[in-house]
Symmetry: C2
Subunit: 262 residues, 2 copies
DNA sequence: CCAAAAGTGTTGGCCCTACACCCATGG
DNA sequence: CCATGGGTGTAGGGCCAACACTTTTGG
């Protein structure tokens, strides 16, 4: 467990600085896709958001990472935000690509390719995919209301997934620890605007899969200038009410900027 | 400056674990390319290896990052090692992709596209490139002997470069600090088998663009179990001779493995 | 008054920084 | 003997880990 107050910077992290252009009347570029690994925490488990689809042949429900081919004139980051939005309705999430997957054997399974050819109405050969990663605050209750049917699935119990999506998820889980470590804003972006110390602690505990000492954690919060106490506290709990904290984005960015000029 | 002995792990770092297949009689895949940012230190400056080409029209010498379209059945990592080898003759270098660049405006400059179409004998539209990064121990003297003409260029004084190669280099320089920090093996892979404390220190100083205190640095070397003193020392210097150290890869990997099971 | 979670301080170790002088060698 | 870089130790501060009890609240 690390508290790197001295290194606070992940190159090219995004928060929807893109202008959102409509590409839907354009043609797809059938050589490159973008897949999003959206991680979240539910029932104290690290979960990944998977989209559902019904297999036309077998009638069974199948799962995959939210993703899509890119459009002819679409930037990669733009495509990632499009997928994020189409899947969850969210727009402003700290999102960043973390790796490309381009093995020529990715499309070895003919079933996967057939499905994609039906979905895109294009002939599919090889596809290189750019994988994006975010901690994503879609609450379970909102899922599937307006957007496509999706499912938070614990990373410990993934179903069968097409292409190399399992490998992509495994790499993403390794990567998220490095990220939250170097750019803690990711964690605060994930939490609601007001959060308690234990919510923050549980989040770290689940990401790092490790217990954190409660007293030490409070000291750590106090040391983080950009985590500020509020006057409000949780109500209606059957025990002592917890203080709410909030994230001061300006202070954070100031510190971040200073650290990277040294 | 950071000495993260507790976090020693960069997911998916490569050291030519690929079997080298020959693809030269296959066709290229004109939608995806791989570019390599090979960094090195010359005259106390951080440099990048650029390949030279003569512009058929103007007759001028132009520069670009070593890179190539991938072959139809070639993996991305494999393509990166192919480019590394074709450019420098090296095979075993710690290499890793660090970002994809896929703006539809990458190929906005028609001159760049024309050159690529001539070189590949294919019609070029949009290209997504996967950028790889390594510290690369080609000595200046070896350059251009057997392989294509290349040039170590200080990153502070880059010439005009095609596509978005300048942006790629800028991102690579940001990334290399994170990497050497998390996976110090990169630095030792760069240095010769026997190196002095000041060589190691200068390397860090140039990568981080920061002076390091000599005494503290010696303590730090002593604390790194995987950096071991040898009995040998530099000869023929017009001053006190420096002790050689070497890198114990086994110890390093043991520590690395232990840290990542905790 | 009981159950359940919130909140709080101290100590010791380790790592980091700052800082100045003598040592070995070749010319 | 001089110029050049090599090599060494100490003290103080900050961050981190380990550790146990009291407080608040609802039921």
């Amino acid at each position: 467990m690390l508290y790197r107050i001295y290194c606070l910077y992940l190159p090219h992290i995004l928060c929807n600085t893109m202008q959102t252009t409509t590409h839907s009347n354009e043609t797809l570029y059938p050589h490159v896709s973008v897949d999003c690994v959206l991680l979240g925490i539910h029932d104290d488990e690290l979960c990944v958001l998977l989209t559902e689809r019904r297999n036309a042949g077998t009638g069974q429900t199948e799962y995959k990472l939210p993703g899509s081919l890119i459009y002819e004139t679409e930037d990669l980051d733009e495509a990632a935000y499009r997928i994020l939005n189409e899947t969850t309705g969210l727009k402003r999430v700290l999102l960043r690509q973390f790796r490309s997957f381009g093995s020529p054997h990715r499309t070895a399974n003919k079933e996967d390719v057939l499905w994609l050819e039906n979905a895109s109405k294009m002939k599919i050969g090889r596809i290189v995919t750019i994988a994006y990663l975010a901690l994503c605050k879609v609450r379970r209750i909102k899922i599937g209301e307006k957007y496509g049917p999706v499912q938070w699935t614990p990373i410990a119990s993934l179903p069968r997934l097409p292409f190399d999506h399992k490998e992509i998820i495994a790499e993403a889980v390794k990567e998220i620890r490095l990220w939250t470590d170097v750019e803690p804003a990711i964690v605060f972006d994930y939490l609601p605007p007001l959060f308690t110390a234990s919510q923050l602690r549980r989040t770290y505990e689940i990401i790092y899969d490790k217990r954190i000492d409660v007293r030490n954690f409070h000291k750590r919060i106090n040391a983080m200038e950009y985590v500020v106490q509020t006057e409000e506290s949780q109500q209606g709990m059957p025990h002592r009410s917890a203080r709410y904290y909030c994230f001061d984005k300006k202070k954070y960015n100031n510190i971040r900027a200073k650290l990277n000029t040294i």
